[in-house]
């Protein structure tokens, strides 16, 4: 599981769903959660929260151009590529933080991913879990 820590800077809610923006050292991450104006709500502006997302939900892009709906896309440098028969693990240096991605070994080959490549990593808002940090 990848974990980042940040501060909640924006909450946009409908009755049962909310989009929460979290500032992680200047980058804004979005998470969609199943809590809204109706029912209990566990998040507050300016509170600290952990962002959690699985390695298998992190995609990698190279020379990405055009528009894409993924809100969470950030630049990183590949620190290491470990390949297995079906899956590969890409370890990323994202502004000094460690992010892991597990993608197919075929994609690693097709994209020619290797150490020191500059890439972008992406994760969908509905794959990001939020865990408030008690104050």
């Amino acid at each position: 599981m990848n974990t980042l820590m940040g501060t909640i800077v924006d909450i946009h809610s409908s009755d049962m769903i909310s989009m929460i923006n979290v500032d992680v050292d200047g980058d804004i991450f979005s998470s969609i959660i199943l809590e809204g104006k109706k029912g209990p709500f566990h998040y507050k502006l300016a509170e600290k929260a952990h962002l959690l997302f699985k390695e298998t939900e992190v995609g990698i892009a190279k020379n990405l151009s055009g528009l894409i709906s993924f809100r969470n896309r950030f630049p990183a440098r590949i620190k290491k590529v470990e390949t297995g028969p079906v899956l590969s693990k890409i370890i990323l240096d994202y502004r000094g933080k460690w992010i892991e991605s597990i993608i197919s070994t075929r994609s690693v080959g097709d994209m020619g991913l290797k150490e020191d490549d500059h890439v972008e990593w992406l994760v969908k808002t509905n794959e990001v879990s939020l865990m408030p940090i008690p104050q």
Partner: protein, 298 residues
């Protein structure tokens, strides 16, 4: 209806502490006392049983006053309609299982219950054995059904499932819950086992330093402190295997075996038998009708 108000000074490993609690519980309600050791959970059970006396307060069960410090009422243990299972099970060593159970009967007309209860906890073949010939899990099961024989209004259970192995524990929990519901007994339960508490409790009282800090349904109590996933279940790891960079973790959730794919850093520190919380974003699961439409009853 149970009404408890109790104050008592205790000496814990962290020094002196004042227990000061007040709670009510409905008939047939399953209430769990949850908190760190030394929070006062066992003392509350002992006070309800009449084994420990509050300095101030009252204990009332179905309009009977068992204890009232002002009116100087203090019913002895044997007069209180309770069944209790504590970690030490206190069976008579010189009697067989059957004899232990018969001895516990208040009304000999209820002897018929014994056979059904023994069967429910898979001990029918062991009824002629003495406690020394039983495993600690088996002794605990005898204690669990013995507690029911007096048809108590209140059952006080202090970690009653600890000595059971995983598979039996899950089965026992379900069967005991069913039996308790049928007898309409109110249960006051102490446990540290997250999945057990989640499964069994109607309500949880969170105790800290002798006070009730929070009270609510299990999902209310635990939801706030965990992650945003709405798809989450407590379970037990039964198997873990590595495949490429991933681990395939088999988790028993209720009676179902599920598989969870996890990265190395997620499984670090986990092993078979560990209790875990499995969570996913509510957006991920796919929902499908279990039967074709034409086969469903309307």
């Amino acid at each position: 209806m149970i009404r408890v108000r109790a104050k008592k000074k205790l000496h814990t490993s962290d020094g002196p502490m004042e227990l000061d609690v007040c709670f009510e519980s409905g008939v047939g309600e399953f209430v769990t006392l949850f908190g760190k050791s030394g929070a006062g959970k066992t003392t509350i059970l002992r006070m309800m049983a009449g084994l420990s006396e509050p300095e101030e307060g009252y204990i009332e069960v179905s309009k009977e006053v068992w204890f009232d410090s002002r009116k100087k009422i203090n019913w002895p243990v044997q007069k209180r309609s309770i069944g209790f299972v504590f970690q030490e099970h206190n069976l008579f060593p010189n009697m067989t299982v059957e004899e232990n159970l018969h001895f516990a009967l208040q009304d000999k007309k209820d002897a018929g219950m014994i056979e059904a209860l023994l069967e429910a906890v898979h001990l029918t073949e062991f009824q002629r054995r003495r406690p020394a010939q039983l495993s600690s899990g088996q002794k605990q099961r005898v204690a669990l059904i013995r507690a029911l024989l007096r048809k108590p209004k209140v059952l006080l259970l202090d970690e009653p499932f600890v000595s059971q192995d995983l598979e039996l524990r899950l089965k026992l929990q379900e069967e005991m819950l069913d039996i308790y519901k049928r007898h309409n007994a109110s249960v006051i339960f102490v446990s540290h086992d997250f999945s057990e508490i989640f499964k069994l409790s109607d309500r949880i009282l969170v105790l800290d330093k002798g006070r009730i800090q929070k009270s609510g349904r299990p999902d209310e109590i635990f939801a706030a402190q965990t992650i945003s996933g709405k798809f989450k279940f407590p379970g037990v790891i039964v198997d873990m295997r590595q495949e490429d960079f991933l681990y395939i973790v088999t988790v028993q959730i209720g009676n179902n075996l599920t598989k969870v794919v996890a990265a190395e850093n997620e499984v670090r520190g986990l092993s078979t038998g560990d209790h875990v919380l499995v969570a996913a974003k509510a957006f991920n699961p796919i929902i499908l009708k279990a039967f074709p439409k034409e086969n469903q009853k309307t």
